[in-house]
């Protein structure tokens, strides 16, 4: 190809400003590629890292119950100063076994291997609190291959013979059990599951977020490739006028785009590898990420490294189209065609589809094809519509500004916008799309929280935050450890609670109360707790709580059983459903007590729900189902209480109300933090695009600016004009984005609403914050380019060419 050397010469050669331009273009593409690789690598990092801990699971052979050699293991999960702590107790029976990944050898009895983060915590100021929970002496470390992340607190402890009663397994390394949804409970093989699952809503949210992240990065690539468009247009037109064919000029554009994209992709890959460690450290996932975890899947990586050069090549070809079709027009700097109002059509159509979806709510909810088309088509058209409408908005805004704005700066900015609205809209469109996606996410976050069982995180609203909650004590009786808990310095009220079922007088007596079919004879559920002792651990003490009094509990979620008659009730064990052979007598005219809703909602492993409250003095002594311990809030006190509760074997470890809230919200908070991180990233990228485009535009128009300066136009007028040229389309696009997001969210939220479950309100404050921060950041980016106005408006440009 004879044109290739010439194309390379034109792309890579040239004067200093041409080299600076090439550097800026490849730099922009490199930043975009690095960030794309980062986004592609960060998204699966949270899930892929779980594969690494497959080795912690035991291989069981269900058929073989006569095994005499092998390994027993049990994982206990607890909390230490707000962080999860896992201890895997293992006992090898028979010859040595291959250890799980990350370990060179399994620890012997009394020996403990710890993760680096745990070792650091042990060596720290509060290490004394941790040591007793590790069941042995630390003899070594666990390598990264055996850890979820660098911050995981994990220990593998060798158990002495006879301590573990779990069945024997052949060895480690079974495939991970079916990933549970939202559960943090026992997966059934002695190992507590590592994480909660991902719901469809969260997956949808991730998809929206991925679009929100990728769009502005592609805008940055496109912006970088189109830098100095006017200069290059003139060059292409000059080539065309001296006889180059359209194909040759397009070839030149393609080569330039390919060179920019190719060098940018290579540099971006290097940049990604350099930035991977800092990126891993700021991605908000529990236990943190190793740098190696941020690794894009091979297909995605290849797609980015090949796709970006293809994109820049395509952009390069498109960029020269005007010079190809109308070289004389380029030479004379003829004005571009104004944006047509038809550009508002897709947006209007998208909103109409959403309204139609609302009108056909049943079809949408039942998954009929046309309902899905209305819903998804409406959303897609809204996104496309915002991008397409950008230039029309900027054009209309510019015309109005030039017509009604005050002062020459408004006129200069308005006319510029009206004449070339596409250039102004290009960079702000990315920001607008992000604002839409983030605003959608904001509207759906409350839904995500309520649709998750872990969303019941309001316990902290009713309990004092530092109250330690021990739930689901199961077969263990906590009674013997209560004096030790009470003796902890700084602990407050120690409140054991039980749940009992009261079989109604005259009800038939089946072997199991669960076999009762007549609802009027269903047993009453009673909470057995000393309400006077409970009050101090509540934020709002219970009113009218008298000792030794039976109360009928009332509250929004208390089962309202009107039939509570006086008489003698048989006690039934709540967990087994069997009669205990004991009775309790309920008096007539039971007073009512308002019961905090959050105690009924509870958390995994803990809830206090019932129709009546019985004082402990009225019922025979028994093992508590849950224990609440008030503390002074100091970490040391909380850890001492945990240590005192240590002998109790529970599936759900003791945690404070505050920690329960963190656990309950971890999924949605994680996504909210990721969304915020994404927003910061895209605003930075958008700002970068805006600053680069503004600076480039100033350079391109330096002759016009120089002429204005020569005739005495103050620099502040030029600066105000530049600021207005970015601010106006930005404000218009962002406002439009927020209106579309609010309208679409309002419609979506109503689709799933019912009289019982009303749609949550729109987060107006969040919208204002998102829109405001995007506009502010973009204006700051523009302001950063204002110092260039002086340089760009220097009268030197008026001197001979």
């Amino acid at each position: 190809m004879t044109g290739l050397p010439m194309a390379l010469r034109l792309t890579l050669g040239g004067d200093r400003s041409a080299r600076v331009r090439l550097l800026l273009m490849t730099g922009g593409a490199a930043v975009a590629v690095a960030l794309l690789l980062g986004v592609a690598g960060a998204a699966p990092a949270g899930l892929e890292r779980l594969d690494r801990v497959d080795g912690r699971y035991l291989t069981y052979d269900q058929q073989d119950t006569s095994r005499t050699q092998g390994v027993r293991a049990r994982t206990s999960v607890g909390y230490w100063r707000g962080t999860e702590l896992r201890v895997l107790d293992v006992e090898v029976v028979g010859p040595p076994l291959a250890p799980p990944p990350g370990l060179s050898v399994l620890p012997g009895p009394g020996e403990v291997l710890v993760s680096p983060a745990l070792a650091e915590s042990l060596a720290g100021e509060h290490g004394g609190e941790l040591a007793p929970r590790l069941h042995g002496t630390v003899v070594g470390r666990i390598g990264p291959a055996g850890l979820v992340g660098p911050d995981e607190l994990f220990a593998v402890a060798g158990a002495p013979p006879g301590v573990l009663t779990d069945p024997l397994a052949a060895g480690f390394g079974a495939p991970r059990p079916v990933q549970p949804e939202f559960s943090t409970g026992d997966a059934g093989n002695g190992v507590v599951t590592v994480t909660s699952g991902v719901s469809d809503e969260l997956k949808a949210g991730t998809a929206v977020a991925a679009v929100a992240l990728i769009v502005p990065l592609l805008v940055l690539v496109s912006t970088a490739t189109r830098l100095s468009a006017a200069t290059r247009d003139r060059r292409s037109a000059a080539l065309r006028l001296v006889g180059a064919t359209g194909r040759q000029v397009r070839g030149l554009g393609a080569v330039e785009g390919l060179v920019v994209g190719g060098i940018g992709a290579a540099a971006g890959a290097v940049l990604f590898l350099l930035l991977r460690a800092p990126l891993a450290s700021i991605i908000p996932v529990p236990s943190g990420l190793f740098a190696g975890d941020v690794r894009p899947p091979a297909v995605a990586g290849l797609l980015i490294l090949v796709g970006v050069p293809l994109l820049t090549t395509g952009t390069g070809v498109l960029a020269v189209r005007r010079a190809v079709t109308s070289p004389l027009g380029v030479r004379r700097q003829a004005t571009a065609t104004p944006a047509s109002p038809l550009r508002l059509l897709p947006l209007g159509l998208g909103l109409l589809l959403l309204v139609a979806a609302l009108a056909n709510r049943d079809a949408v909810l039942s998954g009929r094809w046309y309902g899905t088309v209305l819903l998804l088509g409406g959303a897609a058209l809204c996104l496309i519509g915002i991008a397409v409408a950008g230039p029309a908005l900027a054009g209309v805004g510019g015309t109005l500004l030039a017509r009604f704005g005050r002062g020459p700066a408004s006129q200069l900015a308005g006319r510029r916008l009206a004449l070339d609205p596409g250039a102004a809209a290009r960079t702000v469109t990315g920001t607008a799309l992000v604002v839409v996606c983030v605003a959608w996410l904001l509207a759906f976050l409350p839904l995500l929280a309520t649709s998750s069982p872990n969303g019941r995180g309001d316990l902290v609203a009713v309990l004092q935050p530092a109250t330690v909650v021990l739930g689901s004590t199961g077969d263990s009786d906590a009674t013997p450890v209560l004096p030790a808990v009470d003796a902890v310095n700084g602990s407050g009220a120690v409140v054991p609670a039980r749940e009992l079922q009261l079989l109604r007088p005259g009800a038939p007596a089946p072997a199991d109360v669960k076999e009762l079919t007549d609802s009027s004879q269903f047993p009453l559920t009673a909470v057995v707790v000393d309400c006077a002792a409970l009050s101090p651990v509540l934020r709002q003490p219970l009113t009218d709580c008298r000792p030794d009094t039976v109360y009928r509990l009332v509250g929004p979620n208390v089962f309202d059983d009107a039939e509570i008659t006086d008489g003698s009730y048989d006690l039934v064990d709540g967990s087994t459903g069997q009669r205990t052979g004991q009775q309790v007598a309920l008096p007539a005219d039971i007073p009512t007590l308002t019961w905090p809703d959050a105690l009924v909602q509870g958390i995994d492993g803990f809830r206090l729900a019932g129709s009546v409250l019985l004082p402990p003095s009225m019922v025979p002594a028994g093992a508590p189902d849950a224990v609440l311990v008030g503390t002074d809030g100091r970490d040391g006190t909380i850890e001492a209480v945990r240590a005192a509760l240590g002998p109790i074997q529970t599936v759900f470890p003791p945690l404070t109300a505050e920690e329960a809230l963190l656990v309950a919200r971890s999924a949605t908070d994680g996504y909210a933090r990721a969304a915020l991180l994404g927003l910061i990233l895209v605003v930075l990228v958008g700002g970068l695009s805006l600053a680069v485009t503004t600076a480039d535009g100033l350079r391109e128009r330096r002759r016009a600016h120089a002429a204005l300066t020569a005739m005495g136009t103050p620099l502040r007028v030029l600066r105000r004009s530049v600021l207005l040229q970015n601010a106006l389309p930005l404000l218009l696009s962002t406002s439009l984005a927020l209106v579309v997001a609010a309208a679409a969210s309002w419609l979506y939220l109503r689709l799933g609403a019912s009289p019982e479950v009303p749609a949550p309100p729109l987060p107006w404050a969040g919208y204002a914050a998102v829109g405001g921060s995007a506009v502010l950041a973009s204006l700051l980016a523009t302001a950063a380019s204002l110092p260039f106005v002086r340089a760009a408006a220097r009268p030197d440009a008026l001197r001979a060419e």
Partner: protein, 226 residues
């Protein structure tokens, strides 16, 4: 003899190693049309830019109405250019996004005149220079001659005392060039404004009352034309 309106004394100015002015001195009297002649690279445009306060000389002084211009602040010189000077360049002097009317009204608006009266005056000037028909057109849609006449209207609309014209006809054919010169010089004389004209064409210089010739950054001849 009339006091000079604008004067430059012993100006030196270099761009890197290249000396653009090397001791140039010149005076401009009220109402006179002065042509700065010389070959390419002789320093004509640089001298004009120094006289207009666009460039600041390395040494020497420029005085306007007896007051030092070259030691004023950037803002001060900008204000003076806005109020007392007008400019016509070879090309690129019109703001491409503004219509002819808006371009001409721009100096008035920068000086604080409201839009309507500013555009009325601009319109009068466009009519006067016979380009009223392109008032609503953008520079890209005008011919070269029309564009330069609009530039002349813009230079004169604020009632300047001095009009600086740097190769105002350089991009025009001879007929259009002469038309523009006639209008520029005619209108300036009517206004009583002095014109400092940079050209390398003797034909254009003939419109001047006086011409000075520059070579290697200094004046080599000063002659009053008949």
């Amino acid at each position: 003899m009339t006091e000079p309106l604008l004067s430059a004394h012993d100006l030196h100015l270099s761009f890197g190693d290249t000396a653009a002015l090397a001791g140039a001195s010149v005076e401009v009297r009220p109402g006179e049309v002065l042509a700065l002649l010389g070959p390419s690279g002789s320093g004509k445009s640089t001298l004009l830019h120094c006289l207009a306060g666009i460039l600041r000389p390395d040494s020497g002084e420029v005085r306007y109405r007896g007051v030092r211009l070259d030691d004023q602040s950037d803002d001060g010189r900008s204000k003076l250019r806005r109020s007392d000077f007008g400019f016509v360049f070879q090309f690129g002097s019109l703001v491409p996004e503004l219509t002819a009317l808006e371009n001409v009204a721009l100096p008035l608006r920068l000086a604080g005149t409201r839009r309507r009266p500013a555009e009325q005056q601009a319109h009068d000037w466009l009519e006067r220079l016979d380009v009223g028909a392109v008032a609503g057109k953008l520079p890209g849609a005008m011919s070269g001659g029309q564009g330069q006449r609009v530039a002349v209207a813009r230079a004169l609309v604020g009632g300047p005392r001095v009009v600086f014209a740097d190769e105002p006809t350089g991009a025009l054919d001879s007929m259009n060039g002469e038309l523009v010169m006639e209008e520029l010089v005619g209108a300036a004389r009517e206004q009583g404004a002095a014109v400092v004209l940079v050209t390398h064409e003797a034909r254009i210089a003939a419109y001047a009352d006086r011409e000075v010739v520059l070579r290697d950054g200094r004046l080599t001849a000063d002659s009053v034309l008949a």
